[in-house]
Structures are given as structure tokens and as C-alpha cells.
Amino acid sequence: MVSPFYNILKLHLAQAEFALEKAKNNTYSDKRKEEYQDKLSLLFCEIKKSVANDDTISEAEIYDQYKRHIDFIFKSLEFLDSSTLNQIPYEIVECLDYAMKDWLTSGNEYVIVTSLINNVGGFSFDPTLAYSETIYNEIKTKYSIEFNCRLVQINLPRALVRDYLSSVVLYHELGHFIDMKFKFTESLTREILDNVTGINTIDTVEVDRLLYYFPYLTQFRGINTQLSTTNQYFWATANHLGEFFCDLFASQYISDSSNFYLQYLTEDNRNYTGSHPSTNFRVNVVNDFLNKIDNILVNRINKAIASINGMALEIRSEEVLMDDFFNLLPANVANLKQLHGLFNTGWKIWLNEQSRLSKSLNDQYTAPVRLHNVINNLIEKSIANFITQLRWEKAKPKE
């Protein structure tokens, strides 16, 4: 007689089969997603075959051999299902894709996929599939199935799927993925903690400057003992550095666009938590970076980046003049830097120039939703036109 666990494994398989059958109806514009889904079906067949010949398997073996792989199928489908052209916020994903390519210049191909969720504050990066090559290597070793690309999974609120102002936070979420791939801030955490504890000595003034941003570490100054990962302050520091990095990463592309929004959302600007630094600090660090003011965190993060992949945080956007928007026209975007710069232009208008935009509409619309709609439409069309023109020129026969 087979064990109940084996039958539950078969239930898990049946659920996966159902989900894959349903997903067969998905139409993807991007062929890579289609190929990825085909590989999932292949993987499923291999798992099913293997499970059928393995009815004496123990509970522990079920987890080690199969469950993780079926979970992998589900996790992939969760994002692929929401990434059909009808659902994906195509224009913003294209912008993120350009930003991602700045940082991932070699290695595997990554495809940004989205999952639309109901939580209106639910912008987040889900690293489940992209955190490591390990699972892909395992599948290749065990089943001889090689996936053509990796999925970069981003959650975003269904209600804000076409909101180009709040979408700027997705650049921050992309930062989490980049940081996770290269482990910039986790490596830096260890170095900074060693500096504070005195294991790795640096100038005392510099320690003071670091402690300004991590005040809770003052108690460990000069203790000459390593703070281990079991210490909550290790993770608090790592989390804070991660957030600082992501803010800086985003600001390369969107400038200070998310500063005000961040302050509005967090309400309490002064206090830090275990997961996030104080909003005031976050805003200060971004402003220092954008204004090229010497800042210890920017310096240390840049040093870490340089030693890991030879890159640096730099301003990768260009201002797009507001004139087109005031003329109720999509902007003529000249290059990738301006493409990212569009978001900042949209924010500047929303924050400071609503009355001027309203004048363009002869002050016929007082409801904020109309002005928001105009800004959204103009940003969307500016991005779409840039992409269209680029692809047209590429496909056009050369004279």
C-alpha cells in the first residue's frame, strides 16, 4: 500500500497538470516566455514519469526529490499567467528591462514577469526563482532540461497597473533583484560591521559618519568581536543597506521622483525599523547622490559595487522638458536616458505644475482624475513611441 504522502504528492502533481493545461491558452508576445512554459511542461512530464516509478518513496525523499520542483512549476506559472500582453504593464516593463540590461551585461538571459495582486501597496520583488542558479542547475542535472531564460518576478497592484507615477517604485524593486544577484550590500554589511566593531580598523571620523546612519550599532563600537548573522543587528544593517542601495539604484533612473511619495506612504519619517531605515535618511542619501555631495554611504556602496562587478552608481537619466506635456503631446524621447527621465518629468508636473497643465486644458477639468489621466497617457505614449521608432528603424531595410 502506498503512503498518504505519496498520494499527496500525486495530488500536487494533478494540481500542476491542471494549472499547466490552463496555461496552454496563454498567448505571449515574447517567445522566451512561451519557450519557458514549454520547458515547464517537459519538466512536469519528467517528474510525473519519475514519481510513477517511485511509489515506495519516503516523506523526506518526496521533499528532496520532487516537491521543490513542482513548486517551481507553480511559482513560474503564477508570474507567466499574469504576463500576457493583455495584462502586463508593457511600457513600464520595457523601461525596467533597459535598466536591468545596464547591470546584467553577461550571463543568462532574464525576463521580467509580473504578478498582479490586489494589495494596493503591493509593489515588491519576489526572488524565489532568480535568487540562485542552483535550481536551474539541478533541473538540468536531474532531468536534462535546460531553461532558456530566468524569470525576474515583480509584484504590482492590479489597481495601479497603468499608473506611471507610482510605477517609479518598480525601479527600486528591480534594485533588490540586482543587489541580490551581486550581493553588494550583504558583502558591505560584513565590512561595515567589522569597521564599527574595530575588527577591521578605519578612521574614527569615518566610523562616526557610518554610525550616523546606523545609530543602533553604537553599542558595538570597538568591541572587537564579530557580529554574526544570528545577531538581529546584523540583519537590520543588511536590510537598511539594501534599502539604501535600492533607493540609489532607482534614483539613477528616476532621480528624486519617489522621495515625496515615499514620505507620504511611510508617514513616520524619522524612525527606523528592523527592515527599513528612517525615511529622512533615505531621502538624504538620494539627494546627496543626485547633487554629487560627498556621502559615506554612497561612497562605500560604490566601492563595494566596483570590487564586485566593476560598475558604479551613476546618473543614468536625462531631463525631458515639460513643454511637450503642456502642449498635450507625448514627448519625443531621444535616447534611453530620456526614456527613464520621463517619469521624473511626470512627477514634477504632478507635484508643481498642475495648474499649468490645467491651463492647457483651458481649466475645463477640476477632477484630479482627469489630470492624472492626461499625464499617464502622455507618459505611456512617449514610451510606446520611443520603442516603436527604435524597432521600426531596426526592422526597416537599410538603404
Binding site: 523526506a60 521533499y63 528532496d64 526529490q65 521543490r68 501597496g121 503591493g122 509593489f123 515588491s124 520583488f125 519576489d126 526572488p127 524565489t128 535568487y131 540562485s132 542558479e133 542552483t134 535550481i135 542547475n137 539541478e138 542535472t141 536531474k142 517604485v169 527600486h172 524593486e173 533588490h176 541580490m180 544577484k181 551581486f182 550581493k183 550583504e186 558583502s187 560584513r190 565590512e191 554574526s228 548573522t229 544570528t230 539594501g242 534599502e243 535600492c246 515615499l262 506612504l265 527592515s275 527599513h276 563595494a304 570590487s307 564586485i308
Partner: protein
């Protein structure tokens, strides 16, 4: 918003599973584990730093070294035997409870 999910658990889950498979005699998994153990050894001996070890397996490598530095310093990565895998599994299993408690 502005949250990244914790991914350490998944990374450890996969690694523990690999170790169990090797211990049970599936040599395919040894190939997947070897680069991790080698990097852990090199980090422990100072041949590599936190900035130069493999980025994909960073979490596991640093965890192994910080949990059992002496062991990884002396480990002969050219000849890893079953008892080594068992020892590493013990390190991971016992120490993880502390980290994720």
C-alpha cells in the same frame, strides 16, 4: 511596498536537499555542491573575500564559513568523502535553527 521577500530559506532548503541526495549516493548532486564547498574553503583560508566568492551561492558559502571556519580551512576539497558531506549537513542543520529560530 519596498519589501523584498526573504530568500535565504529557499537557498538553504535546496542545499540541504542536495547534501541528502549525495549522502544517499546520488553523485550528480556532488557536482552541484563542490563549487560551494570549494569557495567556502577558499573564503576560510583567505584566498577569496566576501567580494570575490561566487555570488549565486553567497548565502550558503558565508554561512558555512561563519559557522565552522576551522573545519573549512582544513577541508581537503580535492577529496571530499561521505563523512564530509554528513559533517556539512550537521553544520547546516544545527546552525540554521539558530538563524531562523
Amino acid at each position: 511596498m519596498y519589501h523584498s521577500h526573504s530568500y535565504q530559506d529557499e537557498a538553504f532548503g535546496v542545499f540541504v536537499s542536495f547534501l541528502r541526495n549525495v549522502i544517499n549516493g546520488d553523485q550528480k548532486y556532488a557536482e552541484l555542491i563542490l563549487p560551494i564547498i570549494t569557495d567556502a574553503h577558499e573564503l576560510a583560508t583567505g584566498e577569496k573575500t566576501y567580494f570575490t566568492i561566487n555570488r549565486d551561492n553567497y548565502t550558503i558559502i558565508t554561512f558555512l564559513v561563519e559557522s565552522s571556519k576551522d573545519y573549512f580551512q582544513t577541508l581537503n576539497t580535492g577529496n571530499i568523502i561521505k563523512s564530509d558531506y554528513q559533517r556539512i549537513l550537521e553544520v547546516v542543520s544545527s546552525q540554521r535553527e539558530l538563524v531562523f529560530a
